[in-house]
Amino acid sequence: MKINSIKRRTLLGAGLAGAAALAMPAVLRAQDRSLKVGVYGGYFKDSFDKNIFPDFTKATGIAIESVAEPTGEAWLVQLEQAARAGQAPADVSMMSQVAMLKGQSTELWTPIDMARIKNSSYLLDRFINKYPDGRVAGVGAVSWYITLVTNTNVYKEPPTSWEAFWDPANADKLGLLALVSNSFLLEVTAKTFMGGTDALDTEEGILKAFDKLAEVKPNVRLWYRDEAQFEQALKSGEIPMGQYYHDVTGLAAAEGHPVRSTFPKEGGIQDSGCWALSRASQKVEEAHIFIDYMCQPAIQATLSRKVGTSPTVKRESTDLTDQEFAAVSSDIEPIIPRYDLYQTKSDWLNQKWTELIVG
């Protein structure tokens, strides 16, 4: 059945294309304008499909085909391999910062023409991802916080500092992210004990941070890669403390689970995702329209309310109330991950990290 319909479609397409070449190609193109957009699968994708994409199509006439990404990294591998063969599994994808940098090194991202992103003026500067030569590789899509989370049944009082991870009383109670490039624990260590992430500028500094971090090891019960694995354990109190996503924890708490998310006094880790356009994509025009649309303060506010992400635009430009803003963010100065390290020193860091947790 499928083969038939594909055949018919190609035949039809070929016929139409022939006719169009004679007459008015622009009209035809406008009719089948569509865009494949990659967003994280599961809850994220569901929310986007429900709250964002239909309105976009209504506003612009561009149909969205959403594609579920498992993680930024796995998706990056797929995009890269496909782009080498001139294919784009998705035109625009939501990518993590580290993945953005890796993609930059192979020119995977089509530079974004900021002149066509009218709403970019609202963006916070740190959410514009640039090639070393200044071209724009990606534009901030959403941001989120990784915070200190606890099970309220086990910890009656919320911890106040990341130092809780180092507290011998918490032996075998922590769930931490398993990868150096998504747990950002080096930055946390540097900010908590070494006066700031600048301490990581030198290799000595990084090694010192590793040494300090090694002290956490006895407290760690689970190094998790897949969020749900920890979330489940946190909810049940099996693993009562750890690092986790502020938004998801908030949702779980709202559902009545005994969990809480705390912004430690050193700040939560603010991570973010960018919209980036694969170089193999032909839909440059549509992509710009889409990215511009997503930069609107109103859309960012909707995302905060519906998806639970923190806005990438200046807070003043949105109509978020204090309460709504507090639910997705904090006024405490965040820890901004040192993404650059994960590109320039990635193999070394990864080796050290793996040896730290596995060894």
Binding site: G41, A68, Q81, E227, A228, Q232, H257
Partner: protein, 266 residues
């Protein structure tokens, strides 16, 4: 005493096999969207979800379709190969036997990445049938092994007898070899089918962005939140498998399909 020992041993194995199923079954009837065990409240709505939620339904259909076709292709590759190796003296052809066994020995992620690169380069990346081919190659080992086993159990004099009675090569294959090897085809197919149904990484790397199979969906759940639906799908799968194999056992000779000789053969 020995009978008691044996029964105890069987009971322990049964318990071992059943424990995870009990957990999964318990989780699947949770009232709220949480994976609590023991379950909190009781609801069968997560079973309805499989069919009512188009995403789960599509994933189910995609997985079953993929498994049906890829297992068939795996058998189609393995059968002539196993037959040729049984029928002919061609030591060099054993290289293909080795090639048929090799995909299974590779770490799945490597097969997956190899396939990803290959399909992207070939320009078919993302086409549903590429997953069928990839799975067929990945799991060809299973029918190849069962069929090789099956061929060794065929008495060659049966083939000679058919030849003396006037059957040419093709006729022999159709009237003698095929009926005798059929049980092994079925079991090889069944193995490949079941494994394909549960395979994640190869399916994800080849067609993950155009179609979502159940394992991909379950994996996404692992990453973006468990839902009792994955437990209910699992129970549904187990139940379906039990029904299918139960029917096979009811109308066929299951022990024989799994490699036992006909009960009255010897």
């Amino acid at each position: 005493m020995t009978a008691f020992f044996r029964n105890f041993y069987f009971f322990v194995i049964a318990l071992f096999l059943a424990l995870p199923l009990i957990v999964v079954a318990g989780v699947s009837v949770n009232q709220k969207q949480t994976l609590a065990f023991p379950p909190e409240g009781f609801s069968t709505s997560w079973y309805g979800e499989i069919f009512l939620n188009p995403e789960w339904r599509n994933a189910l259909v995609a997985s079953v379709t993929l498994a049906l076709f890829s297992a068939a292709l795996a058998v189609a590759i393995a059968l002539p190969l196993a037959w040729f190796l049984w029928r002919r003296v061609a030591p060099w052809a054993n290289i293909f036997q080795l090639l048929g066994v090799a995909p299974f020995t590779l770490p799945p992620v490597i097969t997956a990445l190899g396939m990803l690169t290959f399909w992207a380069t070939a320009g078919f990346y993302g086409q549903p049938w590429t997953a069928v081919v990839s799975h067929a190659i990945f799991f060809v080992t299973l029918p190849l092994v069962t069929l090789s086993l099956g061929f060794t159990s065929i008495d060659r004099s049966l083939v000679e007898a058919a030849a003396t009675m006037g059957a040419d090569e093709r006729t022999i294959f159709r009237t003698v070899v095929l009926p005798l090897i059929l049980p092994y085809i079925v079991s090889g197919y069944a193995f490949a089918f079941v494994l394909s149904l549960n395979e994640y990484i190869v399916a994800y790397m080849t067609v993950g962005f155009t179609m979502e199979t159940l394992p991909i969906k379950i994996f996404n759940a692992l990453r973006y939140g468990y839902t009792p639906t994955m437990a209910s799908v699992t129970i549904l799968f187990v139940a379906t498998a039990a029904v299918i194999f139960g029917l096979v056992a009811r109308f066929g000779d299951l022990p024989k399909l799994l490699g036992a000789m006909a009960s009255d053969g010897k």
